[in-house]
Symmetry: C2
Subunit: 355 residues, 2 copies
């Protein structure tokens, strides 16, 4: 693929990359060094490796805070390395596993640390991380859901926003996501995995399980809505992008996105994937939402039309509080507005959970 394509890919993704913690200096280097998408994995992974070496060196010198942050940065580079390796499933798997291993190595060094938790559930093991805000007794806790190809390792910066506001965070991979992908592809009952997480959180004495929130991004926004409709133990929910129904936007999606859905759904053809994913439909669920609900959806989202967010808001008539925020210039998940769009979501969670 041509240089132009790399520039295009970066133009679409840079908001998300920067918002999730990639450095502009690294993105610039990647653009300069990649002459095509076939070089993408190698260049990204090379920078990841560089960060990993810096992290190891910092750790050896006893500089734990730096080491933790650098392991996390290394991990993020392997995430984006595998992100566009559509045609190379082996690289995708390598990138995912390396991301997981690096984040796991950094987790205890983060500030505050991320405690690795593995929840047994119906023969599965749900991999997750718990972080506690320092200096807060029995804090509320926000459960973090990834989307189609975002995982528990990517919410670090948003977790920090929650932690600064006195909220604990719990990020996990559900069916089809990150580590769980190797145990289960997308299933119709993601919300039952969220409830298994709530069961677990109720046993953790450090947090106040009577004040739980959930935030989900992109496909995770869909899962978040379904999770709080299914489980009334949540007090607050943020849909960071509202995917109401997949079928109506399927044909308009770029091929790579549809192929990503096919991959995470464990299907061999796009047709089979489309049929299998009829389950991605909130019809009948929003009426069951009783907690506080905040929906943020870019009016210019080219992937999921903003009409889906309006529909979700309209049908969530039983929510205890409802905010629909549709920034006029926002693209998918308002990633292009990353520098301002995350504050209101974190503040909504803090306001509804801190009471």
């Amino acid at each position: 693929m041509s240089k132009e394509t790399i520039d295009e890919v970066i133009a679409v993704s840079e908001g998300r990359m920067l918002g999730d913690g990639l450095q502009w200096a690294d993105i610039k280097e990647i653009v300069a060094r990649c002459s095509g998408l076939d070089e993408w994995y190698g260049v990204f992974a090379g920078i990841g490796e560089r960060y990993e070496k810096l992290a190891e060196k910092s750790l050896q010198a006893g500089h734990k805070i730096s080491a933790g942050e650098l392991f996390w940065r290394a991990s993020m580079h392997y995430h984006y390395a595998q992100f566009y390796a559509f045609e190379q499933p082996a690289l995708r798997e390598d990138g995912q596993k390396k991301k997981v291993a690096l984040y796991r190595r950094g987790a205890p060094l983060l500030n505050p640390p991320a405690e690795r938790v593995e929840i047994p559930f119906e023969g599965f093991t749900i991999p997750s991380y718990l972080r506690l805000p320092s200096g807060v007794k029995k804090p509320p806790c926000v459960v973090m859901l990834g989307g189609l190809e975002s995982t528990k390792e990517e919410s670090f910066l948003f977790e920090n926003m929650c932690l600064a506001r006195g909220l604990a965070t719990f990020a996990f991979d559900g069916p089809g996501q990150g580590e769980m992908y190797f145990q289960s592809k997308i299933r119709p009952d993601f919300e039952r995995f969220t409830s298994a997480v709530v069961d677990y959180l109720e046993k953790r004495s450090e947090i106040d399980a009577s004040r739980l929130g959930v935030i989900g991004r992109s496909l995770g926004g869909h899962y978040a809505a379904k999770s709080v409709a299914h489980d009334n133990r949540f007090k607050s929910c943020v849909c960071w992008g509202a995917l109401y129904e997949l079928q109506t936007c399927w044909e308009d999606m770029q091929l790579p996105t549809r192929d990503g859905f096919r991959y995470c759904a464990g299907q061999t053809t796009l047709e089979a994937a489309k049929r299998y994913l009829e389950m991605i439909d909130l019809n009948g669920w929003p009426e069951k939402i009783r907690c506080a609900l905040y929906i943020q959806h870019g009016a210019k989202d080219a992937l999921i039309p903003v009409a889906q967010a309006h529909r979700l808001a309209q049908e969530s008539r039983n929510a205890s509080r409802l905010v629909l925020d549709t920034p006029a210039e926002g693209n998918h998940c308002c990633h292009n507005l990353y520098h301002v769009s995350r504050y209101p979501m974190a503040d909504f969670l803090a306001e509804t959970l801190n009471g």
Copy 2:
């Protein structure tokens, strides 16, 4: 000035801007909207105003953490607004004052808060901010020095790195800098102002004044070296760029930089400024440095030749510990390496002060 010039200015400054907290999305907007340097102030200030409004709105809604961060961002935009307003002294003054006011408004809302402190000293009032790491009893404290046109409001992110490592921070404006500029232009005895700060810190029971460090950037690196040579109460010093002597690099400096020196020195002509600034010379001082010393200086610094850093290191033979770090690709203050170059400085301070 042409669009090309704006691109050039950004190319030179983006590392510093990003490292100090500007968002790439905002820089991109500025590049798109500025067709020349005469529009620079207005565009930057416009974004600053936008952040200020967001900050006020957040504060009214009780979202203090967001408000604090947004006031700080607003403040940074006014800093860079005035930064290139060379020909418009009234705008420079407006920008400086607006920056000060916005940061001051955000200071108590920051996490952890920045306490405004005003130290009386020989008829002057030294404006400063103290921040304490949460959960640490009697922490060491790092004194932060700005450079020619960097001020106490700009060290926020580096302060956060120190705070995460258990170090308190104390940032102040000395002669010729920020708020102090309106009281005193550059003087030959900056180090006496630093010592006045140490006298004050010894009275603050929250910190351990037997473990003080100092870090200074660019011209501040010069002041830092002089300050620890003058005052043996410091245990650690970081020169973030080592300006040993101004005279030898004066003629090679770009006109805007020389004019910046002229302005801060309160001189009317460049010739007078050059003569007046003969005081910027470390000759005789480095031998007196007894504390731990870390010097970081980009090998490709086009403003101050790396030879000045080597000279400082060579003459600092009595330092209790000496690290000279000259990254091969680093420009002035290694701003282009902002994403990796700040870790070792913060870690050196933590290691030498936490013991």
